[in-house]
Point group: C2
């Protein structure tokens, strides 16, 4: 008689100086056990488990029932070891450049997760598009579908087109995870990203710490198209909400201004006008990563008295954080997003664990002093 492995599980005894130990108990249920019980072969059980077809509906039903009854859980190790097919994951995100490497981070996170899951065979295929060119998105989305991956990770930069793409994934039976922005597709297995409204409130609280007393605040949104706009709107909303909810303290005047061009000359002119018009500006909240443009203006004009808060640890921002022009940056942790997205897919496929539908990333506050810990 062979020795069987025991299933390990936790006993949570939390009496004080007590020890807690893993306790071995009930035998692990194997495919063989299911097969014996159902009076079929392991091959058949495998077919049922993986829905490979070629099983009579009667047998199928019987096996399914026993599977449930005995609470079968697959052994990922054995399964991966025996399987010849790797898990193919397609990643559909904007590409990055040395100047704008924000979108490099989710990829890095994905590869990080991948290397932790080294032993399970996972294949990543990248489909990268220009974040400002809708057609490139559409083109790449098509390629993804042609490639027929097991799962998809996508950043829904273009909302309508992404919805369309997700619909098609659904039709082809390909599960998908949305990162960084949430279009709330009913079939997405998870959203991994920040709560933009909340991050606006965080910005507001940081601002409040820095300004004390009266004065007005500027909310600057710099974006050359409306497609990436959702985040911006939500962030501003959160920023305003904060002041509305904080009773007692003096409420500053909040002036919103959006700019449709990203050139410094343009931004500089608009800012100069704003400062002329409003002499009591105490702080500026920039609703996305373009905060460095505003920082440049403040730095060049020697306005050290203005509090400045914005988003993302991209290089130009870091530079102005280090010379004290930007006070705080809020990180979207794009790397963590990628990491968690891939992990969710792995868990869903290999461990049959459904990820929680909304995986909110913490809103990290970065200042000059703690910056080093976040730059790996």
């Amino acid at each position: 008689m062979r020795t069987r492995n025991y299933k390990i599980f936790f006993t949570f005894v939390l009496l004080l100086p007590e020890k807690r130990e893993f306790t071995s108990s009930n035998l692990k249920i194997r495919i063989k056990d299911i097969a014996d019980r159902a009076g079929v072969s392991t091959g058949t059980v495998d077919r049922v488990i993986h829905d490979r077809g070629e099983v009579s509906s009667r047998t199928r039903k019987k096996v399914m029932d026993i599977l449930k009854e005995m609470k079968y859980e697959p052994d990922v190790l054995a399964s991966s070891l025996a399987s010849k097919h790797p898990l193919k994951v397609a990643v559909l995100v904007p590409y990055h450049t040395p100047e704008n490497w924000f979108w490099k981070e989710p990829l890095t996170g994905i590869y990080e997760a991948c290397s932790e899951l080294n032993h399970f065979r996972i294949e990543i295929k990248e489909f990268l598009y220009d974040q400002f060119v809708k057609n490139e998105f559409i083109e790449n989305a098509k390629l993804v579908l042609l490639d027929n991956p097991d799962a998809v990770i996508a950043a829904p930069v273009f909302h309508l087109e992404t919805k369309d793409f997700f619909d098609k994934c659904k039709k082809n039976g390909i599960p998908f995870v949305s990162v960084n922005d949430n279009i709330r597709h009913p079939e997405q297995i998870s959203y991994v990203g920040q709560d933009p409204v909340r991050s606006g409130s965080v910005a507001a609280q940081l601002m409040k710490m820095g300004i004390q007393g009266e004065g007005s605040l500027l909310v600057i949104s710099i974006a050359r198209d409306k497609d990436n706009y959702n985040h911006i709107l939500y962030r501003e909303k959160g920023f305003r909400q904060y002041w509305e909810n904080s009773n007692g303290s003096p409420r500053p005047e909040i002036i919103s201004r959006s700019m449709s061009k990203e050139t410094y000359t343009y931004i500089k002119r608009v800012l100069a006008e704003l400062f002329d018009k409003h002499e009591d500006i105490r702080g500026i909240f920039v609703t996305n990563s373009r905060v460095y443009q505003v920082a440049k203006f403040l730095f060049n004009t020697g306005r050290k008295d203005i509090r400045l808060v914005g988003y993302d640890l991209i290089n130009p921002n870091v530079k102005y954080l280090n010379n004290d022009t930007i006070d705080f940056l809020i990180s979207q942790k794009p790397r963590e997003q990628g990491y968690k997205a891939l992990m969710s897919i792995f868990n869903a496929f290999k461990l049959n664990k459904k990820p929680s539908p909304e995986q909110l990333i913490p809103i990290d506050i970065i200042c000059k002093e703690n910056l080093c810990c976040y730059q790996v």
Copy 2:
């Protein structure tokens, strides 16, 4: 002829709209390949790899050489599947109570990691001691050694005694990871925790944002014994360093005061005296989790104008963060510490990956608005 699996590896081609794919290439090296090459059996290779003895030094040498030459990497899946012995990890940390649950978190992190590594057989055994009772530490340290685990995770609350314990681990060939506090034992495989000096500087920058202009700052250290003292000293050092390095801006006077009793009556009296003596106090930095005691004082005396920064997301602190008495808390992320500690051990044992000797945890800044993201 059987079909061989190919080893998967990354090609990092970062040209722009290019796709990046996993490319299959060189065959994975198996024990069998090594055995063939060395003219021995797989059993012998296994003995060499795991240093199980019973191998002639000649054979051993030959196999070792080939192992290196062919860059053999074990297949964890197969190895775990075949192995009967679980990885036994002993955890030596203070126990927690409902009021003081800081030390619950590393355990939670460890179990989190454990459940991610579900399929590999890992057994955790807890050895918990009263953080204020040296003898309990010593007693539990002995028990750990008796238990003869494969690896140890320990929080070096009592420095000398921990050194002694680590020495014994070394002698018994048990690798150990130090969490939360670093006694820099030359043999520890890793330290997982924060940089306390740096966290003091972060506190200082947050303080600076909030105070503008002149005034003095209080640094309060509340600890009833000297054993946990290292952190406190380093944090204060970082706090002072910040002002020394920040030129230009007005430098506040910094008044340090340590309290050896934790009772509110005592703390209240001392604080009242300090406020009497120094009328221009603008902010208080409390160097550990006892910040709630100071918050209580400020709250009771209606001093809403004082900036307050301290450590750790324990319940009483969270309460005062939520009512705006504490402005910022710095989190030591004890859960993440536990998580990383266990992962390091797993990597070291199963994947032969040496962890980096110092794994610094980011210094997270928590305020009322982003608190929710950090409370899981």
